[in-house]
């Protein structure tokens, strides 16, 4: 890793991805949580086809959002406890680059099982089949922004003893734009309207968070490590 510093970031990506894949149970848990949250709505609100068809996009989006918050919310906790973060701060790589790579790795692996469940849940919620591609694309793009937003909250709460609910309180208001454009794009496509404009907006928001959030998360990690 030291000999080829350019490769180090790729190695970090591989390492982080491997850690996520090997924590199989956590991945499974997030998928089960996702399905359970979606299941609560037909049970609690209305199992009728009409209601489900209208609300399926929003339900799936909100459920993905919540389940990503829960899985990624503690992304820096173990690294903080065992001193990895301190080593990151000592390394020759800037902290934002390391954060960026870690978020990319976690996002790429943990979104996949959720996306795999989307077609199944969409069918159960009577989501119109033609919109499925757009739904998955919007989730893929939007979840990258969500992962970056969560990284800021996760960095701020990595040293706190009870992080979970605090993290939700810090992060959920910031996820609103992603949710609005993400589910909005799907709504437009189901209605048969042109989606290119809103899709571009979703992409722009995602890029913005990709650029800004690693800096904020890096600054937060410095703070909790007293640097």
């Amino acid at each position: 890793m030291d000999k080829q510093p350019k490769n180090a970031l790729f190695q970090l990506w591989l390492h982080e991805a491997r850690v996520v894949i090997r924590g199989k149970q956590d991945l499974l848990n997030s998928v089960m949580f996702f399905v359970l949250v979606v299941m609560l709505f037909p049970l609690g609100v209305d199992p009728g086809v009409e209601f489900l068809r209208i609300s399926s996009t929003g339900l799936i989006w909100v459920a993905v959002l919540l389940s990503l918050m829960l899985t990624l919310g503690s992304m820096f906790k173990a690294d903080f406890d065992d001193g990895t973060i301190e080593l990151w701060l000592q390394s020759s790589h800037p902290i934002f680059a390391l954060v960026f790579v870690k978020v990319l790795a976690l996002w790429a692996i943990s979104i996949l099982p959720l996306l795999a469940m989307v077609p199944l849940l969409a069918t159960m919620l009577h989501f119109p089949f033609e919109g499925l591609g757009v739904l998955i694309l919007s989730l893929l793009l939007g979840s990258l922004a969500l992962a970056h937003i969560v990284s800021v909250g996760a960095a701020l709460t990595a040293s706190a003893k009870t992080g979970g609910i605090l993290l939700m309180l810090l992060v959920l208001p910031l996820t609103v734009p992603v949710l609005i454009f993400g589910s909005g794009v799907v709504g437009l496509s189901v209605d048969g309207a042109s989606i290119s404009g809103s899709f571009a907006m979703l992409g722009a928001i995602t890029m913005l968070y990709c650029v800004l959030c690693p800096f904020a998360a890096g600054a937060s990690l410095k703070i909790i490590c007293d640097v």
Binding site: V152, L156, T157, S159, A160, T162, L166, L169, L170, L172, P173, L174, V176, P177, I180, F181, G184, G187, L188, M201, I205, L208, L212, A216, A219, S220, I223, I224, D226
Partner: protein, 255 residues
């Protein structure tokens, strides 16, 4: 030359100077603020003419608009303080955020509450998922987030810097949230309720409002100054001047 220009700025960085400043001005500011607010209330409630459409119910504007303006600008002030604190490491920034965040949250709540009370007679409903209402609700949660984060961190220095980061992240997000909520509202809700296009208000209607806004800013400043005095004494307890200050007051109460 450069020195004299910046001394006011450095003085603000000194807790002792700020304490004395607050001691001198919070009383008058409080008095002026209360007088202006009471006067504007009286003017607005009893003297200003009723609205030709909304009748007397429009008078809640004299509470609603000032609290809403203060709720928004309080976050901006916190963001400015956070930037100053992050760049120049001024402790005062942290004290300001600690004292202003709860007031901002209360103002946001008041704006939402008075809005709901106003909405019932004019729109026929307590709450609409309108863009402005929703972004105010999100602002309330941004305030709550700052307060919650601060209460979760023990170390004073970490708490200060963490809240700077959070406040700045919030302030960068506010325009994005606002834009996206506007977009969402126009997409999903084709103007069921709009504030009726306001005719230009006559002066006897907007003058009390303006006085109310000035009054509430004075009141807010006085409140923040008093709270900051308490915060300064608490946090600078180890310094000599606070010892001296407390001892002198102790002797007075003894004698």
């Amino acid at each position: 030359m450069a020195n004299t220009k910046w001394t006011w700025f450095h003085r603000f960085g000194s807790p002792k100077w700020l304490y004395d400043f607050a001691e001198r001005y919070n009383g008058p500011l409080f008095g002026v603020g209360c007088a202006l607010m009471l006067g504007a209330c009286f003017w607005g409630l009893f003297i200003a003419p009723p609205d030709y459409q909304q009748g007397d119910s429009f008078r809640i504007i004299y509470i609603h608009v000032p609290t809403a303006i203060l709720a928004q600008s309080c976050y901006m002030m916190m963001a400015a303080a956070a930037l100053v604190g992050l760049v120049w490491r001024m402790k005062i920034s942290d004290y300001f955020i600690a004292c202003a965040a709860p007031i901002g949250a209360v103002m946001t709540f008041l704006a939402l509450f008075t809005g709901a009370v106003w909405g019932k007679p004019t729109w026929g409903t307590w709450w609409v998922w309108d863009a402005r209402l929703t972004s105010m609700l999100l602002l309330l949660f941004l305030y709550f987030g700052v307060i919650a984060l601060r209460s979760s961190i023990q170390s004073a220095d970490n708490r200060a810097r963490a809240s700077y980061v959070l406040v700045l992240v919030g302030v960068i997000n506010i325009p994005i949230i606002k834009y996206s909520v506007d977009w969402w509202n126009t997409l999903h809700q084709p103007a069921t309720f709009t504030l009726t296009e306001k005719p230009a208000m006559p002066a006897e209607m907007w003058l009390p409002l303006l006085i109310m806004v000035i009054g509430i800013y004075c009141f807010f400043t006085a409140l923040v100054l008093v709270r900051m005095q308490a915060e300064i004494v608490q946090r600078e307890l180890k310094t000599r001047w606070v010892h001296k200050l407390l001892n002198i007051e102790g002797e007075r109460s003894n004698g």
